[in-house]
Symmetry: C3
Subunit: 314 residues, 3 copies
């Protein structure tokens, strides 16, 4: 028996030979997580780290098993922090080493990637208690801002907006520390679960609440103040993309709006452009299309199109 050819049903055998000839290993192609021996952590590995972090911030809320005094403190908590810190360090080192290998051809024995990862994780963990405090303000904002909310625990255990901002605060902290790829995979995991698409680069103040949330898009260079409230389908996006002399998009420039404190933006509103600034304490109505700045305390409403109503007498 040819050891290179594991047994397959007869109808399948010939097809496999044919497919294998064309489906050759694709080590350097854009669809394989594999470059000269270096691998990125897979999507599922990253989202498991994310869920562990979420379970430290909201113990007992999202999983299957209850927490007790013993598991929430002391040696037990220390062990959980150490464990997730070690995993995260390993994953960050790998994304750095992948970039390093792509750029330099080899990263074997490179100490920069490891040092970067240790520094990033240490800083991230140091910021975790403050991050949790900010989330407490987000929970309170959701509870106060939604007449349907029965309790703060209902907010934590079921509101997609709270989950999305929790993941964003984790991802944004890693993004600000210069960690590649991982923050974006985390954000898109929240996007998949909630329909809320917040780029990890966006900066968002405390007491933030998104109600319903499906279809919300918040771009990379947005800056949002404190106590801002959004509804489903709101876009804070780019107006147009700048291209360089070769016709390629310029990356990294400011292209999304700023939203100041205490602003409410109702469902389906679209606010575009890096020079657009919504002054504090403003209200933006449903379905508004806005591509310029408004001063503080503005109320911006669509003249909603009056629908045509034909009633058929019976």
């Amino acid at each position: 028996m040819n050891k290179d050819k594991p047994v397959a049903e007869p109808w399948l055998g010939d097809v496999l030979d044919e497919v294998l000839r064309q489906f050759n290993p694709c080590r350097e192609c854009p669809s394989a997580n594999h470059v000269r021996g270096a691998n990125l952590p897979g999507q599922l590995a990253i989202t498991e780290t994310l869920e562990t972090l979420v379970s430290l911030l909201f113990p007992g809320c999202h999983g299957r098993n209850p927490e007790s005094d013993a598991t929430l403190s002391g040696a037990s908590l220390r062990l959980r922090l150490a464990s997730v810190g070690t995993t995260l360090r390993y994953q960050i080192e790998r994304v750095k080493a992948f970039d390093c290998t792509s750029a330099k051809g080899d990263c074997t024995g490179c100490k920069d990637c490891k040092a970067f990862a240790e520094h990033a994780v240490a800083e991230f963990l140091r910021q975790l208690p403050a991050l949790r405090s900010v989330l407490h303000e987000d929970i309170q904002a959701a509870y106060e801002g939604d007449p349907a909310a029965r309790s703060t625990m209902e907010v934590v255990m079921s509101y997609p907006g709270l989950y999305a901002i929790a993941v964003h605060r984790i991802a944004h902290t890693l993004f600000a520390l210069g960690v590649p790829l991982i923050p974006r995979v985390m954000s898109e995991h929240a996007h998949a679960r909630t329909g809320i698409d917040i780029h990890p680069g966006a900066s968002i103040g405390s007491g933030f609440f998104i109600d319903h949330g499906t279809g919300v898009v918040i771009g990379e260079t947005c800056s949002i103040g404190r106590h801002v409230k959004l509804y489903q389908g709101v876009t804070l996006g780019a107006l147009s993309f700048q291209k360089d002399e070769n016709g390629n998009l310029v990356k990294g420039i400011k292209r999304h709006p700023d939203v100041e404190d205490n602003v409410v933006i109702y469902a389906g509103a679209t606010i575009l452009g890096g020079n657009t600034r919504i002054g504090h304490d403003s209200v933006i109505g449903g379905n508004v299309w806005l591509i310029r700045s408004v001063p503080p305390f503005s109320k911006v409403y669509n003249r909603q199109p009056e629908p045509e109503i034909r009633t058929q007498a019976q």
Copy 2:
């Protein structure tokens, strides 16, 4: 070795001490599922109960393993009903005990929570056969209402609108029996999977069909008749929130529309307000914004804005 300090890599050790000092156990804070010894069932525990109920209503459709005559009836079915009933009773008792502990400081030995849970589960199970019959009408409505539907099994196994209404009918039945928290966690699980956000309080008649569905929002105090059809992005929402003398939102009042029998609402329409009533056999066009009632047999259309078309000759 200090038993309170499990081994961590040296780079991590000092950071952990620093973080632990601030990240002290947060037993009474809004982010921990833990109040004086009582715990709510976690999100995942609740959604597993939900999936078990779904698999009783649609046997063999959503899982991995086929069903047979033997597993669909008799002792086997009885065992499955007993098992999910017991789990649900335990979960309902815990949400009641959590509320009870929050309010009274202690619920040890309290028999009200247990009695409430037993009564709720018994009533819920009694309503399950009727609930399944209503879902059969929903399946038929989807099959008849979508030219792309090949078979009723395709509807059951793949249509997000059918999954969303199935979960809603389960959650609404529990909500109507006064069960806290659990219905909302179930609804938001369906929201996460489908992009369809139906508050468990909403009342919805048989033969209901949502096509595509992403972005649909149906508020808590909506009342929807029989044979209603919605498309993606429809909002049945609140127009404004009433506040009490202290500036807090008033909870529990009627604030979402009523939709009568045989109404069709096309994609992106927004219908708002607790006094808004859509008369039976009406059609609401795409993107319509409607904040007042219309009589039966109305046809409501947007004068769609005529787009500006510039064509560049080549």
Copy 3:
């Protein structure tokens, strides 16, 4: 002890008897995956096959474990292809046998279903290398089309638009081979994860990119050219449904638009109707509502409603 009555807690026993009398086995009803001994593969079984196919196209990207040279080629790759081919053949045979049993009452010993399944899987596997090449163009289009994209690996590992088009290309290939049900279950799995709803019947050219994506709907009879770019909330849908003399919807006729090469369609645009054709190199602006054809090189914009801005001096 009555062996037909497994033990249940006393409070539950009487209820179970009552429920079981009405909740009798529902073998022929529209909610049970069971017809005269034949079963469709369950939703989860199908999506697991899908994920295996995705992991062959993007090795190491979506899972937990890294790939190496050894696992990406030779005997290992052959084994994986043989394994997924065998599973898929079994699942396709079952969906054919279910239809066969529904139509003819019995499919025992029928060889057509097995032959169909073997042919479909062989053809599908033959097309897999070309399918992967097309996805490489999709990856490149996403990287070039989004200023926020840092690398092609970020696109593969996190972009919902790339995941949605990968699943679509798998589902569409099976759909074109006449496989029932399975393609639709696959498409709706991608819809659940991404908010992007592409019917497996739609035909889509290479270099396709959907940014953000939540709320996108692409209908069954759409035809889309090469290098087309869509944003969130775009609908390519039907204008109205044709009914036969009995008032039932006519299935299978052309009812969705055609979009030619190099078209960009911005967020929230709605394009409807089987006779609507968007000429190549056109740009359709945000929120445009379009129900007729436009020639090549058109620029179609909404006269966006000028919002009313009231500013309260402080």
